[in-house]
């Protein structure tokens, strides 16, 4: 047939609100997640976990369990396949070296996998498995003055220490100094879909369906881990029930592959909610000291931010909580220090806006305290310290527009009418207050590949190993593809989440849509060029592949970030200590918005997680046993519907000419700043500072 005529230029689809492509499947229950695909001869794996915080496995009594009904195998360190050590998605990852030795690094570490014909049988057997331990003394007590605090090794994107100017001298010369410690507790990503995977060997190829944030990298990793050919592993993840950083490679997938390989039949492994609290990472607690020195007019002379967090005994993970401090405010002197202590705890990992979220709570709370002490309006103070270049790196910003966010937000929120005095507004039993904070998040782009195919029937297929973890990526990429191909939306299909589609960035770091969108744009442009020269489209179509690796590497070094301003109104009942957020407003500068409908959902969703961080979330660890005492969704509170007030999120114009797609990503920035805005509003309501999260009722109660 003849080549379809391609209208020149863009279709205007990008920037318009579109409901999700998979929406109908999701609201009818037809969308199948990783643990929901049936297979003949499917066997079920159930993980058994350690009951001690540190020690060695002395014995595992497999015999009794193997005699239980339906039990097919018990995998443990004595019989499990050997894994290649020293590999991982982001450097060597010890958390995936499961069943490799007798060492137990924390409570809830996987010590065995029981495989049986039915999930009930597997569960009963795993629970009946008797494991004995040689216990060793453990330490799970986190504090900033722990004797084991050290400076972690430098790793991107932020070196642990930054020092510009003479902080101590500037502090000494400052008219006003704020010097406070802020803490945040253990927080858990807690996506609604538990980690699930099914693995099977088919025609000499390992096929896994997994709930994850990036199938390509995970397929590569599984191949390395199991000494397999990279081409012999395929991982797909069509629908993912939330991730928030917790769905890189997790033990459930390693277990499914181990068991499928040993038994030569399909094996599904689904973690329990309780197991997710010990095997899937968390946000480390932080203890952060902030020192701000300013002239009487609020101009910052010194900013000193030290953040201590923890990691596990087996793996160094660094929460880079000083990142907001490196980009937000101009100052004569800046010091940012990142410290770590290693404890007998599960290994922390990324959680929505890692570093940015806890760091902004501390910095933006301290800025509010500085506003109070200088008698300045909190927005005025911030605008007075707007930097021309990034304070840590000295590099220019690709675009910023934070001031515009504050100005637009203040207007909409009614901020100019605010009475700055704390503790003076009453509404029945409630004290009412408002607060504000800045948001910021990195807006990076990473190499990706995509293919675009012109099909013989005149339609187009775009393939990219992107993941839609609820972000709306599938729909946004479709819009980008439609625009780039200048084709009618119904003529373009986008296929994602299949490792066979080639290298692509993870759904993480707010980099997904920008990175994938760029690759799709390149592939579409290349296809259009090919089609312009083609007389006919063969039966198997015309396919071109684009790889943005070189383009990404060639980018200028500038500071690329999204920014925003968040406003909160809260009510506090001093008699009960109850805190209710009454409204939230966020105004953001996040580059080009592809789909206003899903973008708003992302931003509001982030702000709700920020509200949840402010008021609810706290993993409580028992020092005697090393175990979490609230490791379920009844004990670990995430915000419920009743906690969430009307929330508005919007954006200002933020053209970013340093970025070919203009997209900055907005999956994480929504959570950055919310907790500080809420804490600052609680101070405005009550007159009491909230320097520890969450803002529990025992912390606001009048005694």
């Amino acid at each position: 047939m003849t080549a379809p005529s391609l209208a020149p230029g863009r279709t205007g689809v990008v920037g318009t609100a579109r409901t999700r492509l998979e929406g109908r499947a999701k609201v009818t229950g037809a969308a199948r997640y990783a643990g929901e695909v049936p297979f003949a001869e499917l066997a079920h794996g159930w993980v058994a976990t350690s009951s001690v915080a540190r020690g060695r496995i002395r014995s595992i009594d497999t015999e009794a369990v193997l005699a239980m009904p339906g039990v097919l195998a018990v995998l443990h360190h004595g019989n499990a396949p050997r894994l290649r050590p020293g590999v991982g998605l982001f450097g060597p990852d010890a958390t995936l070296q499961v069943l490799q030795d007798d060492r137990v690094p924390h409570v809830g570490w996987p010590v065995a996998l029981v495989v049986a014909e039915t999930p009930e049988q597997a569960r009963a057997a795993a629970e009946a498995l008797v494991v004995t331990y040689d216990e060793e003394p453990h330490d799970v007590a986190f504090s900033a003055d722990h004797p084991g605090v050290y400076t972690p090794e430098a790793r991107p994107p932020a070196p642990p220490d930054v020092e510009r100017g003479d902080v101590d001298a500037e502090l000494a010369g400052s008219a006003v100094v704020v010097d406070e410690e802020y803490t945040t507790p253990e927080e858990y990503q807690s996506p609604m879909e538990p980690h699930a995977a099914v693995a099977r060997w088919e025609n000499g190829r390992l096929e896994a369906i997994d709930s994850n944030q990036g199938s390509y990298a995970i397929a590569q990793y599984i191949a390395q881990l199991f000494f397999l050919d990279a081409a012999s592993v395929r991982v797909t993840s069509e629908h993912v029930g939330g991730a928030f950083g917790a769905k890189g490679v997790r033990p459930h997938l390693v277990f499914a592959v181990m068991a499928a390989t040993m038994l030569d039949r399909p094996v599904r492994v689904v973690l329990t909610r309780r197991q997710m609290f010990t095997m899937c990472g968390l946000r480390t607690p932080t203890a952060q000291r902030i020192r701000l020195g300013a002239d009487a007019d609020g101009r910052l002379r010194a900013v000193d931010h030290e953040s201590v967090s923890y990691s596990s005994a087996i793996q160094e993970f660094v929460e880079q909580s000083t990142r907001p401090t490196r980009v937000l405010y101009a100052t004569d002197a800046l010091r940012a220090r990142t410290r770590l202590v290693r404890l007998d705890v599960p290994t922390p990992t990324f959680m929505r806006a890692p570093g940015w979220a806890p760091g902004s709570y501390a910095l933006e709370s301290a800025m509010d305290e500085l506003a109070e002490r200088t008698g300045l309006d909190p927005i005025t103070l911030r605008l007075r310290n707007e930097p021309a270049v990034a304070p840590a790196s000295g590099l220019p910003f690709s675009s910023r527009n934070l001031a515009a966010c504050f100005e637009e937000g203040a207007r909409r929120f009614g901020w100019p009418d605010r009475d700055p005095r704390p503790g003076v507004r009453r509404d029945g039993r409630w004290l009412v207050g408002t607060g504000v904070a800045a948001s910021a998040h990195a807006a990076m782009t990473a190499p990706s590949t995509a293919t675009a195919t012109a099909e013989a029937d005149g339609t187009f297929t775009v393939r990219i190993a992107a993941a839609d973890i609820g972000t709306g990526a599938r729909t946004a990429l479709h819009q980008i593809a439609v625009d780039a191909l200048a084709a009618p939306p119904e003529a373009v299909r986008v296929r994602i989440a299949d490792s066979d589609f080639g290298p692509a960035q993870f759904a993480g770091g707010s980099m997904g849509t920008a990175s994938w969108g760029w690759a799709i744009t390149e592939a579409a442009a290349a296809l259009r060029e090919r089609l312009a020269l083609a007389d006919e489209i063969p039966a198997d179509g015309i396919t071109v592949r684009a790889d943005t690796s070189e383009l990404v590497r060639a980018r200028q070094p500038v500071e690329r970030h999204g920014f925003g301003a968040q406003f909160a109104e809260v009510a506090v009942d001093p008699a009960s200590g109850e805190v209710r957020v009454r409204r939230l407003l966020g105004v953001f500068a996040v580059g080009r918005v592809v789909n206003p409908l899903t973008a708003r959902s992302q931003l509001v969703g982030g702000m709700i997680m920020g509200l949840s961080m402010a008021l609810h979330e706290e993993g409580v660890r028992d020092t005697a046993s090393g175990s979490l005492v609230n490791g379920d969704l009844a004990g670990y509170h995430v915000a419920s519907n009743a906690d969430v007030p009307p929330i508005e999120a919007d954006w200002v114009d933020d053209p970013d000419t340093h970025n070919p797609t203009g997209i900055k990503g907005l999956g994480e920035i929504g959570i950055v700043g919310t907790a500080a805005a809420v804490a600052n509003a609680v101070w405005h309501a009550t007159g009491t500072r909230q320097r520890h999260l969450p803002i529990r009722l025992d912390r606001t109660l009048t005694r």
Partner: protein, 330 residues
Amino acid sequence: MREFRYGRATGVAEAVALHAGNPEARFLGGGTNLVDLMKSGVESPELLIDVRGLPLDRIEVAGDGSLRIGATVTNSDLAAHPEVRRRYPALAQAVLAGASGQLRNMATVGGNLLQRTRCGYFYDTIQPCNKRRPGSGCPAVTGEHRNHAILGWSEHCVATHPSDMGVALAAFDAVVSVHTADGPAQLPLPDFYLPVGDTPHRETALPPGALITGVTLPPAPVAARSRYRKVRERASYAFANASIAAALDIRDGVVREVRLAFGAVASRPWRAGTAERTLTGGPATAEAFAAAADAELAAARPLTHNEYKVPLVRNLVVAMLTELAEEAAR
């Protein structure tokens, strides 16, 4: 979860007979707590006797004006019932403050009374717990106990009872009807729950194998002006940090009758008898309310992380009674 047998009882006597002599049998009502406990490894019955289908699902006003609530009445039906809402509004509010709509549609009155504590150590089977494994110790007393008891606990157990419904029932002098191997019997709520002492695993006076058949609320005109308030760490779908059921009858500024019960402060719903006695016949003022709360809370023994519950309960008593007094004055 280990394997178990399952059977349905068609009558009360049959249910009790099926249970007789089998300490590993359990009655299954809505299952919202028992199935959870079985999945958590806290309960591992050998036989489940399903009593949900028993003809105990009615709410009736008896000839003497008391309200009889069948044991298998769901929480939802209890809270929606016009007589409950009219005569004991705090009971309807208490039930509605508990769990979620889904769970209230399943959970029964009998099961609600027998709910086990939400203590994290109780639920985590790797931990010692005197309730779960008598004699193994109570890590909560020296560990994490922010939401634990301040009243009536012992060094053997500092857990709280999680029920909201039970708090209102305690305020309104509920009597629990049971069916034992010897036939029907009645247990007033204060006798139903046992003191913690050194046997925290023995929570109720229910004889082995006995079935709760219902709850009776005696007529209480004061209850028509009653209210339940629950304070928790989430606005909904969370267990209480403290709760309070209160009813107040004032005439000419004098307290004629008052009912007060607290939740989430003890191993059972806590009837605040001392506070009631302090208030009755005295002035209905904020000072008197505070003094009554202090009298009740004089017995409180808070620990490191739950000392906030003392002022919290005190504040709630004052706020609730003040509200009820203002309402009465209108």
